[in-house]
């Protein structure tokens, strides 16, 4: 079987298009590459949607934590503590089993116990909490002069937030937020190891990599392939976030721009 044929059969296997049965013996390098790459669709799906939705909730929670009113501040603080203080792995398990018991209450909750929705919700809340903490830190370090200048020009309320506070917050938070995005994508590999079933063996990249490692008992091929795909993904994320960072800093003189610094300090 040629490699093109393999790609046609397994390229979209992880979303249920193409050959139904996974290869069982005599794995070729091409099969491993194609299937693990096909699994990356799920990693990108989870990471991308969680980031996009999480961005808005994170902004809201960060503002909530900075609020002067305790009725808003306390829930935000607890939300951040709950998701940052416990392992994502346990959050997945807890959420999955809670969703299972919801399922027996009403069939409306059925999709929650499937990975595409249930795991996405957990990742969304998780990244919101981590990003909110980053945004809150940035909010606190906005130069006082900027806000005083905004007041002096008569900016108030929503207008002041939209034009002054928010852009500055994003600019200051962006390097840390880039790390958060990278490690969110890494965290998506946990989904199918934490209760959520891979229906009809439609799993993510790590699911297929460990499938091959289990079958061949040789970890030296599938995991480096997985590593290759993830390094590619990480570089893409850094590239895109770097462009955004450039735009956020475009008004500053060259020397004062904050450069992206990628630090591996966030695993859940």
């Amino acid at each position: 079987m040629s490699c093109i044929q393999t790609i046609a059969d397994y390229g979209l296997r992880s979303i249920g298009i193409g050959e139904r049965l996974l290869p069982r013996a005599d794995f070729t390098l091409c099969q491993q590459f194609t299937l693990i790459g096909s699994g990356m669709i799920w990693n990108i799906y989870f990471g991308l949607l969680a980031l996009v939705f999480g961005f808005f909730l994170a902004t809201a929670v960060a503002l909530g934590k900075g609020s002067r009113h305790w009725l808003i501040r306390k829930p935000s603080e607890w939300f951040i503590f709950l998701f940052r203080g416990s392992p994502l792995f346990i959050q997945f398990f807890f959420a999955y089993f809670s969703f299972l018991s919801l399922k027996s209450v009403h069939p409306l909750f059925d999709p929650l116990s499937a990975a595409w929705l249930g795991a996405l919700i957990v990742l969304f809340l998780n990244t919101s909490a981590y990003s909110a903490e980053i945004f809150f830190g940035a909010l606190k370090s906005i130069p006082r002069g900027d806000l005083e200048a905004a007041d002096a020009y008569g900016f108030t309320g929503w207008h002041r937030f939209r034009k002054i506070t928010w852009p500055t917050m994003l600019r200051l938070a962006w390097p840390a937020y880039t790390n958060e995005a990278i490690f969110l994508f890494h965290a998506t590999t946990l989904v199918f190891f934490s209760g959520f079933p891979a229906w009809q063996q439609r799993g993510d990249a790590l699911y297929y990599a460990s499938y091959f490692a289990d079958k061949t008992f040789n970890p030296f091929i599938p995991y480096p392939i997985l590593a290759f795909f993830f390094i590619l993904l990480t570089l893409t994320v850094i590239g895109i976030y770097g462009q955004v960072n450039k735009r956020l800093n475009r008004h500053l003189p060259e020397a004062r721009r904050r450069r992206l610094k990628i630090r591996p300090n966030l695993i859940r």
Binding site: G85, S86, I90, F97, S98, H186, K215, N218
Partner: protein, 294 residues
């Protein structure tokens, strides 16, 4: 455990619960919390050692060593740590068995990899087939510790490397002006001063390490996640003296609380430690303390 628990079907309410929570299996569950804490206690010194070696290697003036150190500390950047866990557990096991195989059975003719099997001679198996159960468990735990130490050692290397660079360079220059050799300046000047710069990063790593402990489950250890799944699952009256429905949600809720309290306590302790170490240091935190003091 208690006298009154002889016939659980007669019990109800609080009595039932107290009997249920003290069965032999639950004792295994409680012991596994100890396993998590033990893992943390064992991994930390090893990860520090690996990290220190990695950071020192990154600073080496002999470039092959410095490349090696930098490659080690940066390899974890791009790839999910879970992939490393799954990889190292098999890879380390095969490495040990292969080494023993070469030493113990030198006249073995067949290849080690036969199709989808990894075959070594019986004497080289780890642990030996005849070994008692506890040896198997200890070996599994040992592999897990080594895997954790390698992965978190790489993170530690990064933190320590940054801390070494944060020590003002003038300190080293002064040491060399006093006639200390490169090695002496490293051990007597750089290493004692770097910890205050490393502590925030190390504290962060400690939190990360706590939150990584449930991954033990993926390495095949009977840890708290294993027990929570095992005990929480639906038990019918046929197989268990304490039948109940699907309680896994409550068990994982309990684990959530356990981890939350662990991180909460750690946060408080680290805060105090940082204050203690900052006292009198030439850093912003140290300056702030001097100003507050009357």
């Amino acid at each position: 455990m208690f006298e009154s628990c002889a016939d659980p079907s007669l019990l109800s309410g609080f009595d039932w619960l107290s009997c249920y929570l003290t069965t032999g299996k639950h004792m295994g569950f409680y012991v596994s919390f100890g396993v998590v804490l033990l893992l943390l206690a064992v991994v930390v010194p090893f990860a520090l050692l690996f990290g220190f070696a990695g950071a020192a290697a990154s600073r080496a003036r002999f470039w092959p060593i410095s490349i090696l150190g930098k490659a080690y500390s940066s390899i974890v950047r791009g790839v999910p740590d879970i992939a490393f866990f799954l990889f190292f557990v098999i890879a380390l096991d095969q490495m040990f068995e292969y080494t023993r195989h070469r030493i113990l059975c030198p006249d073995w003719a067949e290849p080690v990899r036969q199709g989808n099997d990894f075959v070594v001679c019986d004497a080289a198996k780890l642990p030996l087939n005849a070994s008692p159960q506890w040896v198997h468990e200890t070996y599994g735990f040992f592999l897990a510790v080594l895997t954790f130490a390698i992965v978190y050692g790489a993170f530690t290397a990064q933190v320590l490397y940054g801390a070494m660079r944060a020590v003002p360079h003038a300190q080293i220059e002064t040491a060399e002006a006093y006639g200390m050799s490169h090695t002496q300046a490293f051990w007597r000047i750089l290493v004692p001063q770097m910890w205050v710069y490393a502590l925030p990063g190390l504290g962060n790593l400690w939190m990360i390490l706590i939150k990584a402990t449930p991954l033990l489950f993926l390495l095949g250890i009977e840890d708290i996640v294993y027990w929570a799944r095992e005990l929480g699952g639906t038990k019918s009256a046929k197989f268990s003296a304490y039948p109940h429905g699907d309680w896994r949600m409550y068990y994982f809720g309990a684990l959530l609380v356990f981890y939350l309290s662990l991180t909460w306590v750690s946060e408080k302790v680290l805060d105090r430690l940082m204050r203690r170490l900052s006292r009198g240091q030439a850093t912003a935190a140290g300056d702030a303390m001097r100003k507050v003091a009357p």
